[in-house]
């Protein structure tokens, strides 16, 4: 394990008060700059002295990046909105319960008070070989320590492995994809808006990043359209502990149901690949089908088709299969709201 020094390497700290200033700083310092939101992921890297950025741009003073507001029939959430604010926001609770539950499932109350939605969506992989500071593929090296005959890879990927087998650990990401959210990305060159689904990238495309964000870019807001507002939602997270623990597998789904027929659905599973996985084949399969045990079983089977387990994570296959079944069945997910 990396030695925790609790003493960060020196860097120049900037706390811009406006978005333009922040973008200007990021433009000027390029790959030397580190974006800091709530710091819960950032401080890990800095205190372990694994990342040594010359410059840290802390976003806490930019008011415009905070808060949840109505936008048409949907909502817009500033990237610096804390997870607690997301969980307690009445609009989120009323219209987009799947996000409320996803955000509430993340970490612990203290971490949610400090951690931001932008940071949660942009957080890095938790693979502990990588976090230990070793020069694996994800760190720019030429080896994966997690997929060897002797590796410990219980938490790792069953899909989409391409040299790296780390997974995306976010609890809010699947909800954002299920809700077809749009990620607003700004840089000094302008704005681009990407579907939540395309915000996340796999190791084949970029082995050193989990998101499409490039140096100089900031996630400024997440726009959730009204398309799925008030739909039937399902969220479930399986972790080793009930709080303060990352998902082993989690699921978020949004479903429009007419009587006992599923009209359409969006179903997303995370922590099984480097990108949250939208199960499009399952979505197509269940559309127009009766919502019953048979559909749920078949959907579960379909979901895990093509999974490739590593030495210690084959349990994720039945786990994912069952979570998909349960999402199709709906009902109580066993997740007790703490609010």
């Amino acid at each position: 394990m990396a030695v925790i020094h609790d003493m960060m390497p020196a860097f120049e700290l900037f706390q811009p008060a406006s978005l333009d200033d922040a973008l200007g700083l990021l433009d000027r310092h390029g790959a030397d700059a580190w974006v800091m939101a709530g710091g819960l992921d950032s401080f890990d890297w800095l205190k372990d002295r694994i990342r040594k950025p010359a410059v840290v741009v802390e976003l806490g003073a930019i008011d415009g990046l905070r808060g949840v507001k109505a936008a048409g029939d949907g909502i817009e959430i500033g990237a610096m909105t804390t997870l607690t604010e997301v969980v307690t926001n009445p609009l989120v609770r009323e219209k987009f319960g799947v996000l409320f539950q996803g955000a509430e499932a993340a970490a612990s109350p203290q971490i949610r008070n400090q951690g931001t939605i932008g940071g949660n969506l942009s957080q890095d992989a938790r693979c502990w070989y990588y976090r230990a500071g070793w020069s694996c593929y994800r760190a720019g090296g030429n080896v994966c320590y997690a997929d060897t005959p002797t590796a410990v890879n219980r938490e790792h990927a069953i899909f989409g492995a391409d040299r790296c087998v780390a997974v995306n650990p976010s609890d809010t990401a699947p909800a954002m994809i299920a809700l077809d959210a749009k990620m607003v990305i700004r840089s000094s060159k302008g704005e681009r808006i990407v579907d939540a689904q395309d915000y996340f990238v796999g190791p084949g495309t970029d082995i050193t990043r989990l998101t499409t964000l490039q140096p100089g870019e900031l996630l400024t807001a997440i726009r959730i359209p009204g398309t799925w507002a008030g739909a039937e939602f399902y969220t479930e997270k399986v972790a080793d502990r009930k709080v303060w623990d990352f998902p082993l597998v989690n699921i978020a789904s949004a479903m429009k149901v007419n009587g006992s027929t599923i009209e359409r659905a969006r179903i997303v599973v995370n922590a099984v690949a480097a990108q949250p996985m939208r199960l499009e084949a399952v979505e197509q399969f269940v559309a127009g089908k009766p919502r019953n045990e048979e559909t749920a079983n078949a959907a579960g089977e379909l979901a895990v088709r093509g999974a490739v387990p590593l030495a210690h994570n084959a349990y994720k296959i039945p786990l994912m299969r069952n979570l998909v079944k349960r999402a199709i069945r709906g009902g109580d997910n066993g997740w007790a709201s703490t609010s």
């Binding site: 070793w134 020069s135 090296g141 030429n142 080896v143 320590y145 391409d162 040299r163 084949g204 495309t205």
Partner: protein, 284 residues
């Protein structure tokens, strides 16, 4: 801003090892290729390059009556090898370097599949060339000094009486040499590197070699790969130059014409059926 040649990493045992060559070197190879191309084009515009004079060719043609109209230069298997190798080489170059210059896609699977094709075709070529072709016709050695000298003289527009090329002109053979070193270097290391990535053939295991050995393997693979960028650029440039098109065509159709044979080659050094004069050997 300086250029870094190698990037480093730390192993779990605290050793510092090389992880890759610096991809700045890709640009070095690319620009070296561009500069070479530009310099060569200018030079070609300004210099003489006489082939064998047309009167001499007429005389030779009259003497070597047995020469057929078309002379086979590359057999079908040799041509197939060449084009399979070319396709796999281009695939390897594009799959490895496009992502490095910013065109991101899942490249590794395409890369190693093309790598296997290249490695198999090289193996085939070695066997074929050793047993079924004139193995030594492609190599370079001290015996080539007279040819080098006369080629230089010719380039400068001077004396053309020295030896002309045997089957392969000297430039071709020097190029082949560079390709042997880099191509075999990239293929041999690439085959080992397959143990690092997901393939259907075996379990990944980085521990078959020490970290330091891997580090040199990645450096060698990258360096050979980068060198192949410049070499391939030069190769394609020559293949499409107007005065070399006859050679490119021969790689497509297999033959050259009698006059091309006599213009560019020495019938005593590249013997083909009919290259001996009727009634005796040509004077050497």
């Amino acid at each position: 801003m300086g250029i870094d040649f190698l990037t480093r990493g730390i192993t779990p045992w605290g050793q510092s090892v090389f992880t890759h060559i610096s991809w700045d070197l890709l640009w070095v190879s690319f620009f070296a290729g561009v500069v070479f191309l530009a310099a060569h084009s200018v030079y070609m515009l300004l210099s003489a390059h006489s082939k064998r004079a047309s009167a001499d060719v007429d005389a030779l043609e009259a003497k070597l009556k047995g020469l057929p109209e078309k002379i086979q230069r590359h057999s079908l298997p040799a041509r197939m090898f060449h084009w399979i190798m070319a396709a796999s080489m281009l695939t390897l170059l594009f799959t490895s370097f496009l992502p490095i210059v910013g065109v991101k896609f899942a490249w590794v699977e395409w890369h190693w599949m093309a790598g296997l094709v290249l490695a198999a075709s090289i193996l085939y070529h070695i066997i074929h060339a050793t047993f079924f072709m004139d193995f030594w016709s492609i190599w370079v050695g001290p015996k080539d000094i007279p040819e080098l000298k006369s080629e230089m003289m010719r380039e400068l527009g001077g004396d053309t009486s020295g030896p002309k090329a045997a089957k392969y002109p000297l430039g071709n053979r020097l190029y082949h040499m560079a390709i042997v070193v880099t191509g075999i270097g990239a293929s041999a290391t690439g085959l080992f590197m397959m143990k690092k990535v997901q393939t259907p053939f075996f379990t990944r295991d980085p521990y078959i070699l020490a970290d330091a050995t891997w580090s040199w393997m990645y450096v060698a693979h990258g360096a050979a790969g980068v060198a192949l960028v410049g070499l391939t650029m030069a190769h394609i440039y020559f293949a499409i130059r107007p005065e070399k098109l006859w050679l490119t065509k021969s790689m497509l159709f297999g033959f050259i014409t009698r006059r091309q044979y006599l213009e560019h080659h020495d019938p005593t050094r590249w013997r083909v059926p009919g290259s001996e004069p009727v009634g005796g050997r040509p004077s050497e």
